[in-house]
């Protein structure tokens, strides 16, 4: 595994780099601190790797409002410890990706944006990570009937070629994962702790080797269990999925409750279903009240697949604006990438109509779709054959509309989705 300089820098800033129990604690950056530092770097036209270069000192001074430079210096000086930690992980088939890497799971980046974890540690094939699928969550302490029920869900998912996503905890999580794996299905396990132990676990080995299972965690592989991290991890399970099923939940407490309510009230990353039936608990009823849908108990693979297709990510659900986007792209002569359009598509529809310079907007947005490279106003004007002043005006408007962002001097423009490149 070769790490980019950006990933090395991000690890130095955010990872405990723990090997064994005697590593002293360093004050690594919190998620919020890293987010602010990343935004600062972008504004300066820099990347995390620049913090490792000879001019880093002055950059650190400039960032002192965000993080104490001495603290940053001390974190960045852990280069040897980094190499030891990477060696330790590699020996156990554990890989690392950062937000700066192309391999970083795209779903997480586009849905969580700069709240996406800076680092993922994992084991197993990364190809599974963009497959979408059905998240299955629930408590650790459940009776045999619910275990069987959940295993059956896993089996159905396997038969339907639907990936199961869960948290790897005892009880419901493991039942769903087991049910899928033992029936040839695929599973993404998002772990809140102990990735290293899971990677070495005999029971997981063959599934990992055969590309049926991928385990990942935003936490250090040797980290133990903490209630806080388990809770924070829950949104990732939803983010990987197209739909989520809560098999059971406590009321007003517990990780399952917290994760489900976070989705229903705030994040809306995936539609949340709850199990209905004789064993419906107060927790599940309360989730119903908050907007969770009733799990329709699909029995065949067609029923399950339909359920999930219906619940495709909001972005790709929109057929109509896509047609507008197609015409724009045909004009610009580019290929259509639905996955990259996102909100741009919606706004495009509104913008394109009723504005005299709609054509200019359409042209520019066409040029700036998906993974377009940042360009200056002058470059865009030249490429599209537009007058420079007009191009600049459109670009600034699009920035105000949050469709584009700009950074650096001279200012370069790029699509909003691409903002968080690290």
């Amino acid at each position: 595994m070769s790490l980019s300089s950006n990933t090395k820098a991000i690890l130095l800033l955010t990872s405990p780099l723990q090997v064994g129990r005697t590593t002293p604690q360093y004050e690594i950056l919190t998620q919020g601190e890293y987010k602010r530092l990343a935004q600062f770097l972008q504004r300066e036209g820099l990347q995390p790797a620049d913090l490792l270069s000879e001019g880093a000192q002055s950059t650190l001074q400039k960032a002192k409002e965000i993080v104490d430079p001495i603290r940053l210096q001390s974190l960045l000086g852990r280069g040897f410890q980094l190499s030891q930690a990477v060696e330790h992980w590699q020996a156990r088939a554990i890989w690392v990706v950062s937000r700066a890497d192309a391999e970083y799971p795209r779903r997480i980046k586009s849905r969580l944006k700069d709240n996406a974890p800076a680092i993922f540690y994992g084991c197993g094939s990364r190809m599974l990570l963009d497959s979408g699928g059905l998240a299955v969550v629930g408590s650790r302490h459940v009776d045999e009937t619910l275990i069987h029920y959940t295993e059956n869900i896993g089996r159905l998912a396997a038969q339907s070629s639907v990936t199961i996503i869960s948290g790897g905890a005892r009880g419901i999580d493991q039942a769903a994962m087991r049910g899928a794996l033992e029936n040839g299905g695929r599973v993404i396990g998002v772990l809140a702790d102990s990735l290293e132990l899971a990677a070495l676990n005999r029971e997981n080995r063959n599934f990992l080797l055969d590309d049926q299972l991928v385990l990942l965690s935003p936490y250090d592989p040797s980290a133990g269990f903490h209630v806080g991290t388990a809770m924070a991890r829950n949104k990732l399970i939803y983010a990987f999925s197209d739909a989520a099923l809560v098999v059971n939940s406590d009321l007003h407490k517990g990780g399952t409750w917290a994760g489900a309510t976070e989705q229903l009230e705030k994040l809306h990353l995936a539609p949340v279903y709850v199990r209905d039936g004789e064993k419906a608990s107060p927790g599940l009823s309360a989730l119903r009240q908050k907007g969770a849908l009733i799990w329709p108990e699909p029995q065949t693979k067609e029923e399950l697949q339909d359920l999930l297709t219906m619940q495709q990510t909001p972005e790709s659900r929109l057929a109509e604006p896509a047609e507008v986007a197609i015409s724009v792209h045909e004009e610009a002569g580019e290929e259509y990438h639905p996955a990259n359009q996102g909100i741009t598509v919606l706004r495009l529809k509104s913008l394109g109509q009723g504005k005299e310079d709609g054509a200019g907007y359409r042209l520019i947005l066409g040029k700036m779709s998906g993974s377009a490279l940042p360009r200056t106003a002058a470059e865009i004007a030249a490429e599209l054959g537009l007058p420079a002043k007009e191009a600049k005006k459109c670009l600034e408007q699009l920035v105000r509309e949050n469709l584009l962002r700009k950074k650096g001097r001279p200012a370069k423009y790029f699509p909003a989705e691409q903002e968080f490149s690290f």
């Binding site: 005697t22 590593t23 020996a91």
Partner: protein, 690 residues
């Protein structure tokens, strides 16, 4: 970062050398400044004696004076660093080491490290990979390491001709290190290919100053003398008349001891020096002070040993590569106008070199059997566990696991005392690399064979092979030495080889897992153990070993000379209490061979011969059993007593070959537990590698 002060660096140099007028050699100060200022990675290619250690000691001191953390130096040659550590102390640099030679000091050193009193820690690559060391020592400081120094950096390159497996791990570490961590790599050996490889790993910013390879003071010569006796004779004849003091290199420990014993018996003042020697520092001092004529050494006396007036380097057997030879012979004549570099080539070296080459990597079958055994276990296996399940020697098992664990990702990992499989498969690239390196080593062996055939032009050949510059080539400064040997000396050498006999140490405990059929496990009670025994020869050697081989496989009878030789050996050995009867190890495969010999030996000693031991069942030959546990199992239940009445006096227990000693151990136990006196094993040959 505080500014660089040239005056401070010079002061430190003068303190370290103890010379108030000292000045930096060309390139030294630039290197120190480069490292101190963190200007990027640096590779120094300079021969021993240029002062590489001053670069890193001074840079370390200056970094520490700004409050930075300690430096870490990784080198495979720690035992030769003593002079450098002393120089560091003069500069006020606290240099400490943790290695297998100073285990009694570890706690003190570890405490000093934790108190931030150690400026630079010197360790070997194996130590770096050691889990206990990582947890107890490294974890506490790895976040503050300010400078990493990699010594013998050519080991990183496949073309560095020095295949130390742990350098694969070091290569990975170097690739992972962020560019803001100061890194200095040093080596004395780097041809073009090696330098290219190092640039690939370390990055393009290299300060690679290479000294001139030509050694005007060295007179090189090669002499082919296939037989050991001839080479021993040549040494005995020539060494006393060579001026000055030097080193005689051998390929194996056994050869080093034997050559030293031979020369001592010719009244030449030498000592042997191997990795197993306990007093290495004293031996080095003895040579430095010219108190011995020569040290007879294996490669344990390696890079870093610097005797400027070393007058000769003689090789008893050829090493496997030009680079190894150049390094070893290059120790001579550093500060002398003329010195000898003589290579004696013999017939056994090819087999020894082949053995080193073939055993460097495990075979596919070996790897498969280890991986399969681990797959079958539910929570991993320790090395003793594996020895019970897999027919491989402990050394092969350890080597296989080591090489597999150094892959990335690794298919096996050690957790606690057990090895486990990981969620990664062994990549085919492992085998491709093994094949590539093996081919490379055979190519190097051939290069040396061509060198040996040269009548003249030796220095030019070596320089060319090392991508050096031939323009300043000079002719040899000394006349050649004679290629012929006095026959009297040859006979004396043969007699010597025939006289040396080798001890057979008694085993003191049963193997792991015990011998089930006999119901034996744990330690062997003293009164049931064998006494220390003797073997007449090493199987196939130039003493009696050749005749033993002839007797066993060609004549199917051991010649009477061997009886006479055993009598002479017994006279010297003088076992006490003297054996009153003779018995032997039975064989179903060759039922008469050994008993016939033992009967003749008994007759010559005027002692009764009583074949009381019998073989109950046919078993595969012991030599097919690859490790001692397997060999023990192979004998379990196979030996018994013909009748239960055994004479109560001491006995000579005769066999033709001894390898793992389990057969002798079980036989002795049987005899003793049925009332015999002390049992003295006597074998014609020791089998197995030296």
């Amino acid at each position: 970062m505080t500014n660089y002060y040239p005056q401070r660096a010079l002061t430190l140099l003068r303190l370290g050398t103890g010379d108030p007028e000292a000045v930096f050699r060309e390139g030294q100060e630039e290197a120190i400044r480069h490292v101190y200022e963190g200007r990027g990675r640096l590779l120094i290619v300079q021969k021993t004696g240029w002062g590489k250690s001053f670069v890193y000691f001074i840079a370390t001191k200056m970094l520490r004076e700004t409050g930075m953390g300690p430096a870490l130096l990784i080198s495979p040659l720690l035992s030769l660093m003593r002079n450098q550590i002393a120089a560091a102390a003069r500069m006020g640099v606290q240099a400490q080491t943790i290695n297998s030679d100073n285990e009694t000091e570890w706690e003190t050193v570890e405490a000093a490290i934790h108190r931030n009193e150690v400026d630079i820690l010197l360790i070997s690559p194996e130590r770096l990979a050691n889990i206990r060391f990582q947890n107890k020592v490294l974890a506490g400081i790895s976040g503050r390491i300010s400078l990493l120094v990699i010594d013998e950096a050519h080991c990183i390159s496949d073309w560095g001709h020095d295949f130390r497996p742990h350098y694969r791990m070091i290569e990975r570490i170097l690739r992972t290190l962020p560019r803001n961590l100061r890194l200095l790599a040093t080596t004395a050996t780097a041809n073009n290919r090696v330098t290219e490889d190092l640039k690939d790993v370390l990055g393009p910013n290299l300060l690679a100053s290479r000294g001139d390879l030509n050694r005007p003071s060295l007179a090189l010569q090669t002499i082919r003398l296939p037989g050991q006796a001839e080479r021993l004779a040549w040494l005995a004849e020539q060494v006393p008349s060579l001026p000055g003091h030097g080193i005689i290199y051998t390929l194996t420990v056994r050869d080093a001891i034997q050559v030293a014993e031979w020369l001592k018996s010719c009244r030449i003042a030498v000592q042997h020096y191997t990795s197993e020697s306990e007093d290495r520092e004293e031996l080095e001092q003895a040579l430095l002070r010219n108190q011995v004529k020569a040290l007879v050494a294996t490669t344990a006396l390696g890079m870093g040993f610097d005797k400027p007036d070393l007058a000769f380097v003689i090789h008893y057997q050829s090493p496997g590569s030009v680079v190894a030879y150049y390094q070893q012979v290059g120790r001579a004549g550093r500060a002398l106008p003329a010195a000898y570099g003589i290579l004696l080539s013999g017939s056994e070296e090819s087999e020894i070199i082949d053995y080193f080459i073939e055993s460097a990597f495990p075979t596919r079958e070996e790897v498969l059997s280890v991986l399969e055994a681990l797959e079958r276990s539910s929570d991993g296996l320790s090395i003793p566990d594996l020895m019970g399940q897999v027919n491989l020697s402990m050394g092969r098992i350890e080597k296989t696991l080591l090489l597999l664990s150094l892959e990335s990702p690794a298919p096996v990992v050690k957790q606690g005392s057990k090895w486990q499989l990981t969620a990664a498969r062994l990549n085919e690239s492992f085998w491709q690399r093994a094949e590539r390196l093996t081919r490379l080593r055979y190519h190097e062996k051939k290069q040396m064979q061509d060198y040996i055939k040269l009548e003249f032009g030796h220095m030019g050949y070596l320089i060319q092979a090392l991508d050096g510059d031939l323009t300043h080539l000079t002719p040899p400064p000394l006349p050649i030495l004679p290629r012929t040997v006095n026959p009297l000396f040859i006979q004396k050498a043969i007699d010597f080889l025939r006289r040396t006999n080798l001890p057979i140490e008694p085993r003191k405990k049963w193997p792991a897992g015990g011998l089930r059929r006999y119901g034996l496990k744990g330690p062997i009670p003293l009164e049931l153990q064998a006494e220390p025994g003797r073997a007449l020869s090493v199987y196939g050697d130039a003493g009696w070993g050749g005749m033993v081989y002839q007797g066993k496989y060609k004549l199917h009878r051991f010649p009477d000379e061997l009886v006479t030789a055993c009598i002479r050996m017994l006279e010297e050995w003088n076992p006490d209490p003297a054996p009153a009867w003779v018995t032997c190890i039975p064989s179903l495969r060759h039922p008469d061979l050994v008993p016939d010999f033992a009967r003749r030996l008994a007759a010559a000693l005027a002692l009764p011969f009583q074949p009381v031991l019998i073989k109950d069942e046919e078993r595969p030959e012991q030599k097919q059993m690859a490790n001692s546990v397997q060999q023990a199992r192979n004998i379990d239940g196979a030996l018994g007593l013909a009748n239960q009445i055994v004479p109560s006096t001491s006995v000579l227990l005769v066999d033709d070959m001894v390898d793992s000693r389990w057969t002798m151990t079980v036989a002795a136990w049987l005899l003793r537990s049925h009332g015999s006196g002390r049992v003295f094993p006597l074998a014609l040959s020791l089998a197995g590698k030296g």
